[in-house]
C-alpha cells in the first residue's frame, strides 16, 4: 500500500478502477486538506484524516475525469470508485486527416527539419524530402510537388500564413527544380494533401503552410560548403528580437567539371541568394515576423543547336503580426509580395527573346477565438492582387486582376470523441462569386485511433498564360474533395490509410484556339503510410505507397486521358539508423511508367544512400549518393518521341556545416 498520512483519526479506504483495471497511482484526497494517498498496484487506497462531518472526497488521474463524492467522513470506507476516461478537448486534439506535420508548433514534435533533410535523397531540399510521403508523384524532370493526381501548380506554399507565388528555383526545361526555402527556416511544416480548411485558397489539390522559427535567443554565425553550394549566415539576438541574414551561392560549375552529364551547358547553373529576417516578441502574445529573400538564377544550355540563356530574379517578402486583442481574441494580419522577372534568350529559336514579369501582393487579416474547450471560431478576409506581363517576339499580354475572399472556420466538439470542423470560403473575381463549403468530421475514440471523413470544394485560377489566351472567358477551376482517413498511432508505430476521390470542374480547355472553362477530370486513389521505430533500437523505417487513377480533359487534350505526369503506383521505402555519431539513411523509390502518345515509359527506380557524421558538436558532415546502381531512368518522352532522362544517373553530394559562434550542437542553421 502506498504511504499515507497518519495524523488523523478517521480512516478512508476503498478501491479505484476504470471499470476493468485498477488505476495505479490515482491521487485520492479530501478537498481542502492535504490528507490523502496514492492508490497502490491493486488500486487500493487507505488514509486517515482529522476532518469531521461532511467532506468532499476527490480522486484524480491523468486522462480521466475527476471523481468527487460528498459525504460524511465516517461513511467513506470500503468505497468502490470507478473513473471515467476524459473526453479530449479541442486543444488536446490534432486532427491528422490528409496532413503530415513536421516540426513543433505546440506539442512535442515527431520529426524536425534535420529529419526531413536526412530523409531519402533530398540533399537538403524540402520539396524533395516531402516527396517521400504518400500522395506525391515521382515527376523526375520537374522536381515539383504533384499531389494526388493534381498538377504541380495545384499545390501552393504559404509562409506564416502568407502566399508564395513562386516557391521553386528556376531551371531549364526537363531539369528538376529545387524548393527556394531551407527547411531550417521553419519550426513547423504542415503538408496537407487535400481537404484543408477555409483559411487556405487558390490551391486545387494541396497546401504547404510553413511557420518560421521564433526569435533567436543567442547570436549565431556559421558557414557551410559542398561541391555545389556555399553558404554564410548569422543571427544577432537582442532582448526580445533577433535579426538574421543568410547568403548562398549555388553553382554547378565545379561539379560539372568533375562529373560528366548528358546536358551541354555553356554557362553552368548558378544561383545567388540573400535572405534576411527580423522577429520581435513584444510580449508572449504579440509577435512580429518579417522575411525577405532574393534569388538571382542564371543558366545557359546548348539545346537543338541554339544557346538558351535563362536569367530569373525572384524577390519575396512578408510581414506578419499576431497579437491578443482582449476578451480571448487573437488578431493576425499579414502582407506579402512576390515579384519574379524571367528572361530567356534563344528560348525556342535562335535570336528570340522571352520576358515575363509576375507580381502578387497578398493581404490577409484574421480573428481567432476559443470560446470554450468545445468551440473555436476564426474568420478572416484576404486579397490576392496580381499582375503579369509577357513579351515573346510579337506576342504580348498584360494581366491585372484580384481575388477577394473571406472565410469562417468553426471547430466544434459535438460530443465527446466526435469533432466537427466546418468552414466556408467565398471568393470574388471579376464580379463572379464562388462559395465553397468544407467539413471534416472526426471520430477519435482514444489517443491511438482517428477516423475522419473530409469533404470540401476548392478553387484556383488558371495560369496566366491560359488566362491571357481566354478572351476573358476563363473563370476559376474548382475541385471537390472527399477523403476517408484512418490512423493508428502508438509510441513506435504509425499507420495511416487514406482513400480519396476528387472531381475537377471548369478546367482550362483549348477550344477553337482559346482556353475556355470546359475541361473536367477525376482523380481517385489510396495512400498508405507506415512509420516504425520498433524493429531495432535506433532504427526508423517508413513505407509510403500511393495508388492513383486520374483522368482529365484539359489544356490541349482531345479526349479524356490520364495526364502524362501520373504514375499509377508510387512506392517509397526509407530506413534511418543511428549508431554513435553516425546516421545512415537508405531510400528506395519506385514508380510505374507514365503514359505518352508514343508509349509508356519504363518504371522508375532509384536506391539512394546518405550518411551524416556528427564530427563535433559544432561540425556536421552530410553526404549522399542518389541512384547507387546507376539505373538510367526515363522520365518522359518529348514531342519528338525522344526519351527525357536525368542529366546524370547518379548524384553525389557532400557538405560540411560549421557553427563558428553558436554554442549549440546539431544546429546547422545559423539563420
Amino acid at each position: 500500500m502506498a504511504v499515507c498520512s497518519l495524523s488523523a483519526q478517521t480512516t478512508i479506504s476503498g478501491i479505484v478502477t476504470d471499470g476493468h483495471e485498477p488505476l495505479v497511482g490515482t491521487n485520492v484526497f479530501i478537498v481542502g486538506s492535504i490528507d490523502g494517498c496514492l492508490a497502490d498496484s491493486l488500486g487500493r487506497f487507505s488514509f486517515t484524516t482529522s476532518k469531521t462531518g461532511e467532506v468532499m472526497l476527490k480522486a484524480t488521474f491523468i486522462g480521466y475525469e475527476d471523481f468527487s463524492l460528498t459525504a460524511d467522513v465516517s461513511q467513506l470506507t470500503n468505497l468502490s470508485i470507478r473513473m471515467n476516461e476524459k473526453a479530449m478537448t479541442l486543444n488536446e486534439v490534432v486532427v491528422t486527416a490528409s496532413t503530415f506535420s513536421f516540426g513543433k508548433s505546440e506539442n512535442f514534435k515527431t520529426m524536425d527539419a534535420l529529419d526531413v533533410v536526412m530523409a531519402g535523397n533530398s540533399c537538403g531540399d524540402i520539396v524533395a524530402a516531402l516527396q517521400t510521403l504518400p500522395g506525391t508523384q515521382m515527376v523526375g524532370e520537374s522536381g515539383k510537388l504533384y499531389v494526388r493526381g493534381g498538377e504541380s501548380d495545384e499545390c501552393q506554399t504559404f509562409i506564416n500564413g502568407m502566399h508564395v507565388l513562386v516557391p521553386y528555383s528556376a531551371e531549364t526545361e526537363n531539369t528538376a527544380v529545387r524548393g527556394r526555402f531551407s527547411p531550417f527556416l521553419f519550426k513547423g511544416i504542415n503538408f496537407s494533401l487535400g481537404g484543408y480548411s477555409g483559411e487556405y485558397g487558390q490551391a486545387l489539390s494541396s497546401v504547404l503552410p510553413m511557420e518560421t522559427t521564433d526569435a533567436a535567443t543567442s547570436d549565431k554565425f556559421g558557414v557551410s560548403a559542398s561541391l555545389v553550394d556555399w553558404n554564410v549566415g548569422g543571427t544577432k539576438a537582442f532582448k526580445n528580437s533577433s535579426l538574421s541574414f543568410n547568403a548562398a551561392l549555388t553553382s554547378m560549375g565545379l561539379y560539372n567539371s568533375l562529373f560528366k552529364e548528358r546536358n551541354d551547358y555553356f554557362r553552368p547553373y548558378r544561383k545567388l541568394s540573400g535572405e534576411a529576417q527580423y522577429k520581435k516578441e513584444f510580449s508572449t502574445s504579440s509577435v512580429l515576423k518579417s522575411y525577405i529573400g532574393y534569388d538571382l538564377t542564371s543558366v545557359g544550355q546548348r539545346i537543338d543547336g541554339r544557346n538558351l540563356s535563362l536569367k530569373e530574379h525572384n524577390i519575396y517578402a512578408n510581414v506578419t503580426y499576431k497579437t491578443a486583442i482582449g476578451h480571448g481574441y487573437t488578431l493576425f494580419t499579414g502582407i506579402a509580395n512576390s515579384s519574379v522577372f524571367s528572361d530567356i534568350d534563344n528560348a525556342k529559336t535562335v535570336g528570340d527573346h522571352y520576358h515575363n514579369f509576375r507580381n502578387e501582393v497578398h493581404l490577409k487579416a484574421e480573428v481567432r477565438k476559443s470560446y470554450s474547450n468545445v468551440l473555436k471560431l476564426s474568420a478572416g478576409v484576404e486579397d490576392y492582387i496580381r499582375n503579369s506581363t509577357l513579351n515573346y517576339d510579337i506576342y504580348h499580354y498584360q494581366l491585372d486582376y484580384n481575388i477577394l475572399s473571406a472565410h469562417i472556420d468553426a471547430q466544434w466538439r459535438v460530443i465527446p470523441r466526435l469533432f466537427l470542423n466546418l468552414s466556408a470560403r467565398t471568393e470574388l473575381m471579376k464580379s463572379k462569386w464562388l462559395v465553397m463549403p468544407r467539413a471534416t468530421l472526426s471520430y477519435i475514440p482514444n489517443k491511438h485511433l482517428q477516423f475522419s471523413l473530409v469533404a470540401g470544394r476548392y478553387s484556383q485560377i488558371a495560369e496566366d498564360d491560359y488566362l491571357a489566351q481566354s478572351r476573358n472567358t476563363l473563370g476559376q477551376s474548382t475541385a471537390d474533395h472527399a477523403i476517408l482517413s484512418m490512423q493508428y498511432k502508438t509510441q513506435t508505430t504509425l499507420l495511416r490509410i487514406e482513400p480519396y476521390w476528387k472531381k475537377y470542374h471548369d478546367l482550362p480547355l483549348l477550344e477553337n484556339g482559346i482556353y475556355q472553362s470546359h475541361g473536367h477530370g477525376t482523380s481517385k486513389g489510396i495512400d498508405i503510410f507506415v512509420e516504425d521505430h520498433s524493429f531495432i533500437k535506433n532504427l526508423s523505417t517508413t513505407l509510403s505507397y500511393s495508388f492513383n487513377d486520374s483522368k482529365r480533359l484539359y489544356l490541349d487534350y482531345t479526349e479524356v486521358q490520364t495526364p502524362d505526369y501520373v504514375s499509377r503506383h508510387n512506392l517509397r521505402l526509407t530506413a534511418k539508423y543511428a549508431v554513435g555519431k553516425l546516421i545512415f539513411g537508405l531510400a528506395e523509390s519506385y514508380a510505374t511508367g507514365r503514359h505518352f502518345p508514343v508509349g509508356k515509359t519504363p518504371h522508375y527506380n532509384s536506391v539512394d544512400v546518405n550518411l551524416t557524421y556528427l564530427l563535433s558538436p559544432k561540425v556536421i558532415v552530410y553526404s549522399s549518393l542518389n541512384n547507387i546502381f546507376g539505373r538510367t531512368n526515363i522520365f518522359r518522352y518529348d514531342g519528338k518521341g525522344s526519351p527525357v532522362m536525368p542529366s546524370r544517373d547518379r548524384f553525389f553530394y557532400i557538405g560540411i556545416f560549421v557553427s563558428l559562434k553558436n554554442n549549440k550542437a546539431y544546429d546547422i542553421s545559423n539563420f
Partner: protein, 176 residues
C-alpha cells in the same frame, strides 16, 4: 546523459532547488504546506517524490489561483522523471508537467523566466529518456529555453544550474 553521475548531479541539484523555495508572506498556510511536503524529499526515493507530487496537487486544489503549487508540481514531476526516465509513471508525469506549464503560461502573474526554465527542463528530460533519438531533436530547444529564461531574468539560478548541468551531460555524451 543517462549516466549515473549525471543523474546523481541532477538529484543533488533537485534537492538544492527543493530547499530554496521562496516564501510568499501573503500565503503562510500554503507555504507551510508546501514546505512540509518538500521536507519529505529529504529521503529522495521514487515513492517520496510521487507522494510529494500528489500532495502538491492537493495543495493546488486548495489554492487554485496560486502559481507556486503548480510550479512545484511541474518541477518535482521533472525531478522524478529525470531520475527515473523509464519508470511506468514517467510518461504520465511528463504529460502532466507539460499541461501544468501550459496552465502557468496563461496565468497573469506568471514568471516567464521560470516557465522557460521548466520548459527547458522538460525537453532535457525527454533527451534523458532517449538520447539517441531525442538528443539532436531537442538539444536546441533546451538551450533556447534556458537562454530565454536567463535573458528575462539573468539571476535565475535554477536556469543557470540546469544549463550548466545540461552542458556537462552533453559533454559526457559527445565525448567533447
Amino acid at each position: 546523459m543517462t549516466s549515473q553521475t549525471f543523474k546523481h548531479q541532477v538529484l543533488v541539484f533537485a534537492l538544492f532547488v527543493m530547499a530554496s523555495v521562496s516564501i510568499n508572506a501573503q500565503q503562510p498556510c500554503m507555504q507551510e504546506l508546501i514546505g512540509q511536503s518538500l521536507s519529505k524529499l529529504q529521503q529522495p526515493t521514487p515513492e517520496s517524490f510521487l507522494n510529494c507530487i500528489a500532495e502538491m496537487k492537493r495543495i493546488d486544489a486548495m489554492f487554485p489561483d496560486s502559481i507556486q503549487p503548480k510550479h512545484q508540481i511541474a518541477l518535482q514531476s521533472l525531478n522524478f522523471s529525470v531520475m527515473n526516465p523509464h519508470a511506468p509513471q514517467t510518461d504520465n508525469l511528463l504529460t502532466e508537467a507539460e499541461q501544468t506549464i501550459m496552465t502557468m503560461t496563461q496565468m497573469k502573474n506568471a514568471d516567464q523566466s521560470e516557465i522557460c526554465t521548466l520548459r527547458g527542463f522538460l525537453y532535457m528530460v525527454r533527451i534523458v529518456q532517449n538520447p539517441a533519438q531525442n538528443g539532436q531533436r531537442y538539444y536546441i530547444d533546451v538551450m533556447q529555453s534556458f537562454e530565454k529564461a536567463l535573458k528575462i531574468n539573468p539571476d535565475n539560478q535554477l536556469a543557470k544550474d540546469l544549463q550548466h548541468k545540461f552542458f556537462e551531460g552533453m559533454k559526457q555524451a559527445t565525448g567533447k
